[in-house]
Symmetry: C2
Subunit: 413 residues, 2 copies
């Protein structure tokens, strides 16, 4: 069993690199996701894969901007009594062009009789039998929405790589777009490598633990626009069986995240597994805490990321390595937003490595403020509750003084 110690040497084969170098290794390996067609009503939050141009004017034809009376071009100055020819109702088309001295009642968003020069809102006229009396000045075009006033045919509505928000969904519906080409969601599989890990719905035997990293990662993946393709535990302590399991998971995924096996010398040690699969290591050991033992590899167009089984290290590793992959695959800016924030707490632990402290940041009248969450040991879950921020504490920092400005990454941005 001295193998469990000597396997330590594999870490020396790859240099211990910086976070930014490690992230770049991953981003450089991203392959474009295939596209798929979704109905517009399911497109909210998806990323369109092609430029979208207006196929028509909006509005398509001149419309009344208010409920009121259509006025002929020759009547707009002077004439103050117009005969009402027609009361257009919702859905009606005008039966004839407008004649001088005549008017029709028109509805907001509805069509106008030909030769309408302006609309007068109904509350600005006096009704007298079948006539309207107008005492105000009328300007050509008043209360008329001209065709193409909002959007012109041929105009770019959304460039490729735009995340569809409510406004864009609404606009595309108005334009008659019924379906849309979007990037397929990144598919991510999660595999727990620990033999002592049982699914959270199972009752752990003595020495076993319930899986909390799977549900954590599944939640992160959903928040970041990914689709969970599988969530499994390693099927066996036989490493060739686990390799077969990984190959099966990769077939249905763009990214596989394994948890655990980043440090121990067991048969499921992640790095050895990845190597035996023929995956090319991108990095292994990054100079950060927690999560320094995380690593990544590429196998064809598929990526594998190995995260620590310690909950906080797993969470930090996801945010720093897996999330940029998910965002990059969707053609979004890969990295979390960085801001300066005032720390509301002190943190006394000295550390030679760069450290990512879990925090809760809020914008206040005084700018961004960040609280350091309790339970910062890598094996604890507590600092993940209410966590929306990582504080990026440089290597060899003496810690944080309360009131000090720190650099934060917003993870729910």
């Amino acid at each position: 069993m001295s193998l469990s110690i000597s396997s330590n040497s594999i870490y020396n084969e790859l240099p211990n690199i910086s976070l930014e170098e490690a992230q770049k290794q991953l981003i450089n390996k991203l392959s474009p996701l295939p596209e798929e067609t979704v109905p517009i009503i399911k497109a909210l939050g998806r990323i369109n894969s092609h430029d979208i141009y207006a196929e028509q004017n909006l509005p398509a034809y001149p419309q009344a901007a208010r409920d009121g009376f259509a006025v002929h071009g020759t009547d707009k100055n002077g004439q103050n009594e117009l005969v009402i020819d027609e009361w257009l109702k919702d859905g009606d088309m005008p039966s004839s062009p407008l004649n001088p001295g005549h008017t029709s009642y028109v509805l907001t968003g509805g069509p106008l009789p030909a030769d309408t020069a302006a609309v007068i809102p109904r509350e600005l006229v006096i009704l007298k039998h079948n006539k309207v009396i107008i005492n105000i000045e009328i300007k050509e075009g008043n209360y008329i929405r001209v065709a193409g006033e909002d959007f012109k045919k041929g105009e770019l509505l959304a460039g490729a790589g735009t995340r569809l928000d409510a406004g864009l969904v609404s606009l595309l519906a108005a334009m008659g777009v019924t379906e849309l080409q979007v990037y397929r969601k990144p598919r991510v599989a999660i595999l727990s490598l620990g033999q002592h890990i049982v699914a959270s719905h199972e009752n752990p035997a003595p020495g076993q633990l319930r899986d909390s990293n799977g549900p954590l990662l599944a939640s992160f993946i959903k928040n970041d626009g990914g689709e969970l393709s599988a969530i499994e535990s390693s099927c066996s302590n036989n490493s060739s069986a686990v390799r077969a399991q990984i190959n099966r998971l990769l077939e249905q995924s763009d990214l596989l995240i394994t948890t655990g096996g980043t440090y121990s010398g067991e048969s499921q040690e992640a790095h050895t597994l990845y190597e035996k699969l023929g995956a090319r290591s991108l990095f292994w050991e990054v100079n950060i805490q927690p999560g320094g033992h995380n690593g990544a590899a590429a196998l064809g167009s598929k990526l594998l990321i190995s995260l620590s089984g310690n909950p906080a290290a797993c969470a930090v590793g996801y945010q720093l390595f897996a999330k940029p992959v998910l965002r990059g695959l969707q053609k979004l800016h890969p990295y979390s937003r960085r801001l300066k924030a005032v720390s509301m707490d002190s943190f006394s632990k000295k550390n030679s490595s760069r450290r990512f402290i879990r925090g809760h940041a809020e914008y206040t009248e005084n700018g961004w403020e960040v609280s350091i969450l309790p339970g910062q040991k890598p094996g604890m879950l507590r600092s993940l509750l209410n966590c929306n921020t990582l504080i990026d504490l440089p290597a060899n920092s003496p810690g944080i003084q309360k009131g000090e400005k720190v650099e934060i990454l917003l993870i729910n941005d």
Copy 2:
């Protein structure tokens, strides 16, 4: 057809009230949503309806915090050669308590032999045949996670009304919680009252328009944690048929939003419809632009909100009236976050009413900055693209100067 004019009088029956009074009318009418049980893996983003307490310690038993060697209490000072009794593998339980002068190899997160006083990380010892040589000082409790170190049995994990984030889902999974009581999502039906409105997948005849408000509201509802129960157009210009349709929609919904019919004198005029249904008006006409003609009513425990058919007015009305209802039903703080922001644009339109201008806000090194989006006419869709903010411009304001501080509501917070 002079009815279309005289119906104007109904607006005079209710006073024109302030936005805050109108919002309060709605919030005061909220009935609690029923609860439902969801599996923990589907609970992300849901709101728990009961306080949740820890049913066990976490960790449940003492664990090694690192891969390394267990040390007996009597060996922690002086003794520097320990005989290795056992190499625990992933998932193994120690076969016996630890004896003085002996050690066992233990794994991070794994169990410890009884009488273990500390763990020494494997990289800090020298291995010699079946012994480890220890040259460093050992403190009692080093590298041991004591039971309950992270969470203690009986501790409050999440109060009722907490939105489940990734960390809480993960913690509950670790605790063996497999399902959870949450508030049922608010069910919202959308009904377009315009006879000239066709669904966006249909081809509009001359005089008709595609529905863009339905997809807009459906997207907002999804973003705000609601569930769309129906999206329909009024079935008929026969008002009793439309009332039957509304009754049917209310049966399957907590909230019905109608669009259109807020100003015209047609048979589908929203206020008349609501009154004939026996709904009690909460307000009608609010002193804001756009969307001043919006209104609301209550029918039993169900709420009805009438929004303008103009896209921008519909969007503003949703954000100011419907969103607080959706949030309040979920026991969240009902109102959007208000902040001060520097306007990057000027806005010259004077207005006697309080005005909500669509904007895009971003946090920069200089604080919050807001751009005024183009296309601010109420009938236009353009200002809804990329809109994440409403600028709240007071009544009788002379407009906005570029660089001026304005009050904004963050609508995607």
